[in-house]
């Protein structure tokens, strides 16, 4: 029996709408717990440490090599037009506007989003989330809200560090490999940089933090079916967070820079 294409499309659309609705409801409920006391401060700090501090090596390494390769690539391109002096500018603008937040976001989604989904998923299938409820503790308040708050606060900080390390990478290649004058490179970097470049990057980082934590918690909280279900939740959390980040990245960019 063949299923008509329309039926398949219809079913997919319905499933997509249903999913969007349930994620929106989840997000609404989570946010309502983020803004109402009590706040579990130790939980928030623990998550900030997990998201920020322990992501530093991964994000730092990504940033420094990205900065280095940016300088190198723009050199090979710009040398053709004798436009080498624009390299510091290209490096700093690409990093602060785009690559800093996007790459840090993707790295954190893989590290932290996956961990959140796995942890909450395991707690779900072993009835630990039910146990929380029986101990008069609202799971959204104790598990979801601290993760959301921590991610939204920490990702911008992480991206600032990533920006700085990336710029350092570009500087190292520029000065030691491409023969730029140290002062000139630094002056070009600072002169071209606008507040808006950095601010748009940090806004993106905060939004990405929200998306990563939301997807990690949503898929973990709603997982079922034992170890297999937790595995699926982890994958879904990382994939959906990455896609949503890239889509929202475009729209935030348009908001800031489209004239």
């Amino acid at each position: 029996m063949t299923i008509p294409l329309v039926t398949v499309l219809g079913r997919m659309t319905l499933a997509f709408l249903g999913m969007t609705g349930s994620i929106a409801m989840f997000a609404g409920r989570a946010i309502s717990h983020c803004v109402r006391p009590p706040f579990y401060r130790t939980q928030i700090l623990r998550q900030m440490l997990e998201i920020g501090y322990y992501s530093l090596p991964v994000v730092g390494l990504t940033a420094i090599f990205t900065g280095m390769v940016l300088a190198l690539q723009s050199y090979t391109g710009f040398a053709r037009f004798s436009a080498e002096s624009a390299i510091p500018n290209v490096v700093v603008v690409s990093l602060t506007r785009e690559l800093g937040p996007v790459l840090a976001g993707l790295m954190v989604a893989g590290r932290v989003g996956a961990a959140m989904a796995a942890e909450l998923g395991t707690m779900r299938v072993t009835e630990q989330i039910d146990a929380l409820t029986t101990l008069s503790t609202e799971p959204f308040k104790y598990l979801v809200a601290p993760r959301l708050i921590a991610a939204v606060l920490t990702l911008p900080l992480l991206v600032m560090v990533a920006d700085a390390i990336g710029i350092l990478g570009g500087y190292l290649v520029g000065v030691y490999k491409l023969g730029f004058n140290e002062q000139t490179y630094l002056r070009n970097t600072v002169d071209f940089l606008q507040v808006q470049d950095v601010v748009s990057g940090l806004v993106k980082a905060a939004v990405f933090g929200f998306i990563i934590a939301l997807m990690g918690c949503y898929h973990g909280y709603n997982s079922r079916g034992g170890a297999q279900g937790v595995g699926a939740a982890t994958t879904n959390a990382v994939v959906s967070a990455s896609m949503l980040m890239l889509v929202s990245n475009y729209f935030i960019t348009e908001l800031f820079f489209a004239r």
Partner: protein
């Protein structure tokens, strides 16, 4: 069926139904538990005993029916109101459900600290006392749940369930996986909880010795209904073929297991 107790019941369940898809697990349950009463629920594996407890706790939404806790309807409560009602409950989950990121004593002290705002050092004292009551030393309190044996986890879970001195305690198979001596210690502990706290309890067990020891009344769940309720003393003279078969553990009888011959 016995008449409901004269005093106002702690728990009153009427017409409770719950299905998962086409599968009717609970099909019209009527149940009363009086203050200070200990009810034991027996029934075959997969008959819906755990689901019954989770419905009463509000962890699973019932399809229909009413659940009154101290006269208050709890089937349609908001989050905040639910948390308040939960203060009355303690629950020992069948699988333990210990928080594996916390130490054993932190698990036991979780309710007092997080929900009741007890200072940490005070709560730790409470936790260690409760652990002692279930036969666990303070050293065990410093371990993580994953470092304990199955039976030890069950006992920690029991300590956590009683740590807040709840008025209603549910025990889902408290003695499964324990040696006979420890099982009897736990039975005594449950009896003591009921006596000391005046708590009402519902216990699920497959262990008939335990059922006779801890229960005042017993109910048997079969195909979504409570087919027999009565005093534990009347258990042997119930005249109910299903109950007889179950308590004597016979393969032959009106209850047929879905196994391939």
């Amino acid at each position: 069926m016995n008449a409901a107790p004269a005093s106002a019941p702690r728990i009153r369940v009427r017409g409770l139904r719950k299905a998962f898809g086409p599968k009717k697990v609970l099909d019209g349950i009527d149940l009363d538990v009086a203050p200070g009463e200990s009810l034991v629920v027996i029934g075959g594996s997969g008959s819906g005993k755990s689901v019954l407890l989770k419905c009463i706790l509000g962890l699973l939404p019932p399809d229909s029916g009413s659940i009154l806790i101290d006269g208050e309807e709890t089937t349609r409560l908001s989050g905040g109101e639910r948390a308040k009602v939960m203060r009355k409950f303690g629950m020992l989950f069948q699988g333990g459900a210990l928080f594996d990121s916390l130490k054993v004593w932190e698990n036991v002290a979780f309710g007092p600290i997080q929900a009741d705002g007890m200072p940490t050092h005070e709560a730790k004292e409470v936790a260690l006392t409760k652990l002692e009551a279930v036969g666990l030393t303070p050293e065990v309190g410093e371990l993580k749940p994953a470092e304990l044996s199955g039976g030890m986890q069950k006992r920690v879970s029991l300590a956590r369930a009683i740590a807040r001195q709840p008025a209603i305690i549910f025990f889902d198979e408290p003695t499964t996986g324990l040696d006979p001596i420890m099982a009897d210690v736990i039975n005594d502990l449950i009896v003591k909880c009921v006596k000391d706290l005046g708590a009402s309890t519902i216990s699920i067990t497959h262990d008939m010795a335990s059922a006779r020891k801890i229960g005042d009344r017993l109910a048997m769940l079969y195909q979504g209904k409570l087919i027999w309720q009565g005093a534990v003393a009347d258990l042997d003279t119930s005249g109910n073929a299903f109950v007889d078969q179950f308590i004597h553990g016979r393969a032959e009888g009106p209850i047929t297991m879905a196994v391939r011959k």
